[in-house]
């Protein structure tokens, strides 16, 4: 067991190293930070305290948009690099299980997303703090009860987004496990991402449907695709200082993400086990 964890750790570490040395990651990270920094131009419109909400939404949007792109493309590239360069052949001829190899790839990509999420949330928290301090000096009355932004919860939101990227990474790995090309994997993964984002519409639909095959089918599809809206509780977390979301709810969402992640990695393994390298 310890040997297995060690092998997984080495493969994940190597995958992470490969990922961070790619120009794509660095470029995307710089673009995201630049975009986030540009949100300070909102101060020219003089929104008052609403400016903080704009900056937060802008930051969360950048995190989701660029994070999703990075999660799908980096996972696809890291997987297909191994297949196309035939490094997987050398690796799988070693005394390692295919699941260890696949899980190592997953954790490597997931560590990359942790770096990305941590940097973006740190920059966002820093910018919000700076703007809020300035606004407090200018509009003192609006801050009688103290700061409006719950800073620790920005990082809780970051954690939830990281969990969501974990599910997306696992889904991408699952699609890559039976796909033959990079392009197919990327396109299908983005389609699945859109379905997961809009999945709540199906949930709303079946709640008003009459019992029967149609409802059962929609309900089943709702189970297959994870509901990504569950992770989007940034507003409730960051600006709801008086009635914070209970820790149990956060843990439940984390658990929900973990279950889908494990299931998709295992499904990827089922495909990959039969794949001829």
């Amino acid at each position: 067991m310890i040997d297995s964890i060690n092998r997984l750790r080495f493969i994940a570490g190597n995958t992470f190293l490969e990922a961070v040395r790619q120009k794509f990651f660095n470029s995307l990270l710089l673009i995201s930070i630049a975009l986030l920094a540009s949100s300070t131009f909102f101060q020219q419109f003089d929104f008052g305290t609403n400016e903080l909400k704009f900056i937060t939404d802008f930051g969360f949007g950048a995190l989701f948009f660029f994070g999703s792109i990075l999660s799908v493309t980096a996972t696809t590239q890291l997987f297909f690099n191994e297949i196309e360069n035939r490094t997987a052949l050398t690796m799988l001829a070693k005394p390692i299980h295919k699941l260890e190899f696949l899980a190592g790839k997953f954790f490597g990509a997931h560590m990359l997303m942790l770096c990305f999420t941590a940097v973006i949330t740190l920059v966002l928290a820093g910018m919000l703090y700076w703007r809020e301090t300035e606004l407090m000096a200018r509009l003192g009355d609006a801050f009688i009860d103290g700061r409006l932004v719950n800073y620790s919860d920005i990082f809780v939101f970051g954690l939830l987004q990281w969990m969501k990227f974990g599910v997306l990474t696992a889904i991408t790995l699952f699609i890559a496990s039976f796909s033959n090309t990079n392009l197919y994997t990327i396109v299908v993964s983005f389609f699945v991402l859109i379905i997961c984002q809009l999945q709540y519409i199906a949930r709303d639909a079946y709640s008003t449907m009459e019992a029967g095959i149609g409802r059962w089918l929609v309900q089943f599809l709702g189970l297959i695709f994870p509901n990504f809206q569950l992770f989007n509780i940034g507003d409730q977390l960051v600006f709801n200082v008086k009635a914070p979301i209970p820790a149990v709810t956060i843990l439940q969402i984390v658990g929900y993400g973990l279950i889908y992640t494990v299931v998709f990695v295992l499904l990827a393994h089922v495909n990959f086990r039969r794949r001829e390298i």
Partner: protein, 299 residues
Amino acid sequence: MTTPAIRIQGLTKDFSVGMRGLKLRAVDGLNLEVGDNEILGLLGPNGSGKSTTIKIILGLLQASVGECQIYGKPSHTVDARRSVGFLPEAPYFYRYLSGRELIRFYARVCGVPRSQIKEQVDSVIELVGMTEATHRRVGTYSKGMLQRIGLAQALVHDPQLVILDEPTAGVDPLGSAAIAEIIRELKRRGKTILLSSHLLAQIEGLCDRVAILHRGKLVREGRVDDLVQDQHTESLVVEGLSPAGRAAVEQAITAEGGRLCRVEKPRLSLDALFLKEVQQQEAVRSDSTDTVEQGGKHD
């Protein structure tokens, strides 16, 4: 009786081709054994099933029928692969790592104890003659260097069985001779080697036994000497024989009921000639460099 390094029994591998699932038979009822501390050459034209057989031995492919064991363990198990080192054909490695980082990484993946990693890594790097280039990134390596570092990664966990798929493909004769010497050294260290190659001259000089595959079937197998020797003729290699002496030998052969089939000058292979010439040039160059250095010191 010792357990063979590899035992293949009734091995058949079919691939499904196209939407209709037509079967393409890559390996057909193969039976083969490789004894411990033996070098076996796996020969065959392209598409004869050599690589498929190797992949099945390594557990990368599942056999359709039959079984394959490595030192008595089913070859598809992780446990069986602990005693196997593999160098794939035209190997690619993680280009962003240096040679030493790469070997270290594979040593760790193979479970080499932390206390032995440095020693093992240094030892295999020295064995393959890559000490000078280990700090360089793998992406900058030449074809020959890639093969050597590939050999190092195959040997870093000290496996008993080493499988080499076209280890000298694309390598110049000097590099090829160096790799052949490493293979001989491995044999001296008690390792078993399964070697797949198109370079028949090299196989002939290296292997104890060969197995020839054609269209997935084993068509010939045995000791190299037994297979290539003409059992009905003998050759005498003589030096300084006068025309009268030669006539006497011919007469004696006829008198004893033999027949002189041909008289020819022994030939050196082009490989051997090339190596001899290059090594001589290298020796002269090295001598002259030593002389210049010594002269410089005297000055």
